[in-house]
């Protein structure tokens, strides 16, 4: 076939590597967390509350199961959706713990971390121009992935005074004829906010009335303190409107394994599975073997870790309040999200000066979107002695700021 010259030669020559980038990729900014990472890396004098992962190493029996499977030569691809026995175990785990029942044959997909599940769900759902509703402050990846797929992220601000819950009126106010997907992440990273059954009902109603579909990122589900987590998919009529995303990283202390899953309506899961099979084939078999062991024999150890987070949660909340920082009580995940508004500094300024002058690393709230400004994300997944040291240092720093103002 003879090509038309005019179509094959670009109007302007591409001179730099960046000229070859697609507009969506070019528009993708590095996350605000990245900058702090660079500031902190290599520093030995810092106590860090910036780590978004458990301080436990994966329990030994889980690691051992993986080692044994390697010795037996389990190094192959698995079926695209994940090992059947793992999918069965995930389905029965979700049924036991959260009263949501999925058919392991066509409603469960094993992914590379919850992250891939979110990516797949958004890619499967978004057509260019669709509006994606995202309560904020929230985990940093939803908006960028939405933009990559040509969607438009619409943030919905939530507030400390309301324990960072999403309210039906706020949701309604953000809805337009283009609204399609609502992304939920409760218990919340970074706020530690949760949604109870009563909190959920009005949201479910709005979702129904407006024909929305929900991606519910429930990676912190097990890390709920005081009351059991209520899965959005378990609400009346919501199962078919929800893609439930979760994984092993947080509850089972398995971040580096990159093991997650998505559950939902067979037609949605099968579309996600198609993207998954063309892009990654399957999740690594080593991780799948380990995840299977975690589900079969890891519940007791998981409970022990959760109890330990809960103890430290009480410690940091009390600590922040005692040094004069307002701190709503986080009821899930392993983050406290104290307000630093009383210091008169912005989140960035506070976090940066705290690092330099107070020798404590934490993540400024503004990187998590609307409503995050004026807050600091502090992970309490670190040892009690480190937590006490951090709070003491932050206390001294806050005092110093106060003296400066007077």
């Amino acid at each position: 076939m003879i090509m038309d010259e005019q179509q094959t030669v670009p109007a302007k020559r591409r001179t730099t590597a960046a000229d070859y980038l697609a507009p969506n990729a070019r528009a993708l900014k590095p996350s605000g967390i990245r900058r702090f990472f660079d500031l902190v890396s290599g520093r030995k004098d810092i106590v860090t509350l910036g780590v978004g992962e458990p301080d436990f190493v994966t329990p030994w029996h889980v690691r051992d199961a993986c080692v044994a499977s390697l010795e037996m030569g389990k190094t192959q691809y698995t079926s695209n959706a994940g090992m059947p026995e793992l999918r069965e175990e995930i389905a029965s785990y979700l049924d036991n713990r959260f009263k949501v029942s999925y058919n392991p044959a066509d409603e469960v997909l094993v992914t590379i971390g919850g992250s891939e599940a979110i990516d797949l769900a958004l890619r499967a759902l978004i057509a260019p121009g669709d509006e994606i509703l995202i309560p904020e402050p929230c985990y940093i990846s939803y908006s960028p992935i939405t933009a990559l797929s040509g969607g438009v992220a619409v943030g919905i601000e939530t507030f400390a005074a309301d324990a960072f819950k999403l309210r039906a009126e706020q949701l309604k106010a953000a809805i337009t004829p283009k609204s399609k997907v609502l992304i939920l992440c409760y218990p919340s990273n970074p706020t530690g906010g949760i949604m109870t059954y009563e909190d959920w009902l009005p949201i479910a109603k709005v979702v129904e009335e407006n024909d929305l579909i929900v991606i519910s990122d429930e990676i912190y589900a097990e890390l709920s303190y005081g009351q059991k987590h209520v899965s959005f998919a378990a609400l009346p009529g919501m199962k078919d409107r929800t893609i439930l995303v979760s994984g092993f990283s947080k509850a089972f202390a398995m971040t580096g394994w990159r093991m997650g899953y998505a559950c939902g309506h067979p037609e949605l899961i099968s579309a996600m599975l198609r993207i998954h099979q063309y892009t990654v084939m399957c999740a690594p078999i080593m991780g799948q073997v380990a995840a299977l062991e975690a589900l079969k024999n890891g519940m007791e150890e998981m409970e022990r870790m959760i109890e330990s987070y809960n103890q430290r949660r009480r410690l940091v909340v009390k600590g922040f309040r005692e040094i004069g920082l307002e701190c709503h009580e986080p009821q899930g995940a392993f983050y406290a999200f104290p307000s630093i508004k009383s210091t008169g500094l912005s989140s960035e300024q506070f976090a940066e000066r705290l690092l330099e002058e107070g020798k404590v690393a934490a993540v400024p709230g503004n990187v998590f979107g609307l409503g995050g400004e004026g807050h600091l994300r502090c992970s309490y997944a670190t040892s009690v002695s480190q937590l006490n040291e951090a709070i003491e240092r932050i206390g001294d720093f806050v005092k110093k700021l106060k003296n400066e103002r007077e």
Binding site: S31, I33, F36, F37, V40, S41, R43, I46, T48, G50, V51, G52, E53, D55, Y139, I140, S141, N189, G226, Q311, R312, R314, L315, K318, A361, V363, T382, V384, S385, N388
Partner: protein, 169 residues
């Protein structure tokens, strides 16, 4: 949420926190368990009185303090005494200051005795001069400890610390 934990449950949780770090004070423990400080103080006092908590002692890695210390585990077979079983003889053994621990065991022997000395010779002489001559001791088997990796749930040479990135999303 206060009072959600039953008494024995609470004692157990206090013990677990103290076992991790015996220097944790009542106030810290009260915060971590969401109970009143007075309650924690009372529970701890009770456990001290009842000898549930025997002592608050440091776990020392003695091999770092003086390398030459020798520790041996000795399997001891004995004839129980009428009426007193193993108690009297166990006491005669554990009262020696060089004896660090004594356990009554099931299986091929009766008591497992941990003995510490400055030299191999010192331990050997304890066995031949003090332990073996006891009337009801039938036989002893001495095993010297070459290296302690883990004791009471505490790993001595944990070289890898926190391996996480300092900041992550």
């Amino acid at each position: 949420m206060k009072g959600a934990v039953t008494m024995s449950d609470l004692k157990m949780k206090i013990l677990e926190l103290l076992k991790e770090d015996a220097r944790r004070d009542a106030e810290l423990i009260a915060t971590m368990l969401d109970v009143q400080v007075d309650v924690v103080k009372r529970e701890i006092a009770e456990m001290e009185n009842d000898h549930l908590i025997v002592k608050y002692a440091a776990v020392v890695n003695w091999s770092k303090v003086h390398d030459e210390t020798v520790t041996a585990l000795i399997e001891v077979q004995i004839t129980p005494e009428r009426g007193r079983g193993f108690e009297g003889i166990a006491e005669r053994i554990y009262l020696y200051p060089e004896v660090k621990s004594v356990y009554l065991m099931s299986g091929a022997y009766d008591l497992l005795v941990e003995v510490e000395g400055k030299t191999l010779k010192e331990v050997a002489s304890f066995v031949s001069n003090k332990l073996s001559p006891i009337d009801s001791v039938l036989s002893t088997k001495t095993f010297f400890i070459l290296k302690k990796y883990k004791q009471d749930g505490i790993i001595f040479d944990e070289t890898v610390g926190d391996q996480r990135l300092m900041i992550s999303p």
